[in-house]
């Protein structure tokens, strides 16, 4: 089974790698934009799966970090700064600080309380963005210049943006896969499995959960910064609670606690949005039943239909 998932992963990466060339030849540049969007939202979904699937933290405010990363790029460009290192440096730092603050107040709580606190903070940031008129308020803010890295990589270039996003997504996946098997990851999963037992063997759950929350927030913040580069526009809508819900749907569709499933979930969700919305603006009416079907018949997400979850015994 392991072999199969490796092959599928390699195949998926190969396909994703060819997208710019194929869309170029077929003259369908729109689909390059679409795939870029999938890759960026996959990051957000993977970042959520890291804390949801392995830390048991159901964050219902993850879109806040998309906003923080996005506004970092938007606001810096507003002041004429287009240096990519500064853009992404600020995006990372800002989302880390916001995650640290939200995390300190939320990770001690569990279940519904955690959901409500993360939701409340993301709504606060949403209304903050609406109320600051300097940066467009409700109308949003045009990103005046995309990120340029030392004059070499320019994210205004569609192909470069795509490859940069793809590389970052793959990097994040690799980091997450290492992380969940590391000492830190074992502790995180132990806390999800039985927090009381973890305390009894001497662990203090707070610091591990908090750090995981910050790592996740930063990953989502980077996705936000890339998203701002893609749309060259940022508005409070990016932080709306329904956006947080979408990220969660992506992670659930693909399969919680699989990481790679989130990538499939992001593709599936955005693909459905794309196709269904051609038939009706109320495409979510069709999405709802589909989600029910997935939850009922593929409880571990779409990925589990392709690669069955780990067998009853594992070796090595």
């Amino acid at each position: 089974m392991r072999k199969l998932s490796y092959i599928l992963c390699a195949l998926g990466i190969a396909v994703l790698f060819c997208v710019p060339a194929v869309t170029e030849v077929a003259d369908m540049s729109y689909y390059l934009d679409f795939t870029t969007r999938v890759v960026i939202f996959a990051m957000a979904a993977v970042s959520l799966d890291l804390i949801l699937g392995y830390g048991g933290m159901v964050s219902f405010g993850h879109a806040a970090f998309l906003g923080v990363g996005g506004y970092a790029v938007g606001i810096l460009s507003y002041y004429g700064i287009t240096d990519g290192f500064i853009h992404f440096g600020v995006a990372i730092l800002a989302s880390a600080l916001v995650a640290l603050f939200i995390g300190m107040l939320s990770v001690r709580t569990i279940g519904v309380y955690f959901i409500m606190i993360t939701l409340a903070f993301s709504q606060m940031l949403y209304y903050l963005a609406i109320s600051v008129n300097t940066y467009g308020g409700d109308d949003g803010l045009s990103v005046r210049g995309a990120s340029v890295f030392a004059g070499v990589v320019d994210l205004a270039d569609r192909d470069q943006l795509y490859y940069a996003s793809l590389a970052i997504l793959l990097g994040m996946l690799l980091i997450c896969y290492r992380l969940i098997g590391s000492r830190f990851g074992m502790v995180l999963r132990g806390i999800k499995s039985d927090e009381r037992r973890m305390i009894a063997i001497g662990y203090s759950p707070f610091r591990y959960k908090l750090l995981a929350f910050v790592i996740s927030g930063v990953m989502c913040g980077i996705a936000g910064a890339l998203l701002a580069n893609q749309t060259l526009f940022i508005s409070p809508a990016i932080m709306h609670w329904s956006r947080s819900g979408e990220i969660m749907v992506m992670a659930i569709l693909g399969g919680i606690s699989t990481l790679f499933g989130s990538v499939i979930g992001a593709g599936l969700y955005l693909g459905l949005e794309e196709t269904l919305s051609r038939f009706t603006p109320h495409w979510q009416v069709l999405l709802g039943p589909l989600l029910v079907v997935v939850v009922l018949f593929a409880r571990n997400g779409v990925l589990s239909l392709i690669v069955p979850r780990r067998a009853k015994t594992r070796h090595g």
């Binding site: 000492r183 037992r197 009894a200 009853k312």
Partner: protein, 251 residues
């Protein structure tokens, strides 16, 4: 300093009008197996929770290895060497058996803020975990998911996790709970092998197991220690027989 590893002085815990622990004094000597018996509602579990730190006492002190730990949170007490097993089996069900024990070893083997190296490949975690699994007889089940173990195996794993932290004091909250006679016997035999290597505080309903294992026994009734002594002394203590063993039982 005396030879007591754990000393409890004037411990009081009230729940509203109910007094669960009533000015309890208790002294557990190093390397002895000390059992606590008592009827349901005697406050045994409340006492365990106060020793582990999950419940804060209203009055009194808990001194462990010479340090006052009354205000320490549970994880800090565990780090000091107070290990425990739970009455209701509490293992990481979605982990393999070896992962369960390795995770407990990890709590004592350096810090856990390592993010890249795979824990499964660390000999410093695996080797002690294997040794403990061999001790409790679960080595051939090492790669099984804990959820697939039988009840008796889960109880053994529960104990293995507690032992993996190399505690100075091991609190065993009804380790034989829900076990058949054969499994109980095996557990008693295993606990016998631990005797003298570490200090054990045993809470157990199985009175014969307690009499067979304990160096000393404390009888708890309504949160107070009404008697303390060796198995033979407790067996013949008149108040104990009235309160706990029942008047009608002939010795």
């Amino acid at each position: 300093m005396d030879d007591a590893l754990l000393r409890i002085e004037g411990l009081v815990k009230r729940y509203g009008g109910l007094i669960a622990t009533d000015h309890l004094g208790l002294s557990i000597r190093r390397n002895e197996l000390h059992a606590i018996i008592g009827p349901n509602g005697a406050g045994k579990t409340t006492l365990v929770s106060q020793i582990t730190g999950e419940v804060r006492p209203d009055e009194g002190r808990i001194v462990f290895a010479g340090d006052d730990v009354t205000r320490l949170p549970p994880n800090a007490r565990a780090a000091k060497g107070i290990g425990r097993s739970f009455q209701i089996t509490s293992v990481f069900l979605d982990f393999t058996v070896i992962e369960n024990v390795s995770l407990a070893v990890q709590a004592r083997a350096g810090h856990s803020f390592r993010f890249w190296k795979q824990a499964a490949g660390e000999a410093i975690l695996r080797d002690p975990a294997h040794a403990i699994l061999a001790k409790v007889g679960l080595l051939d089940r090492a790669d099984e998911l804990a959820v697939n173990l039988s009840h008796g195996e889960k109880r053994a794993l529960e104990l293995a996790i507690a032992l993996a932290g190399s505690p100075k004091l091991l609190l065993l909250d009804e380790p034989m709970a829900g076990m058949g006679p054969e499994e109980s016997l095996r557990m008693v035999k295993f606990l016998e092998t631990l005797k003298g290597q570490l200090t054990i505080l045993l809470i157990e309903h199985d009175i014969e197991a307690v009499f067979a294992l304990a160096d000393r026994i404390t009888v708890l009734v309504y949160g107070r220690a009404i008697a303390e002594g060796t198995a033979a002394e407790i067996r013949n203590h008149p108040e104990v027989r009235r309160a706990y063993l029942g008047d009608d039982e002939e010795a």
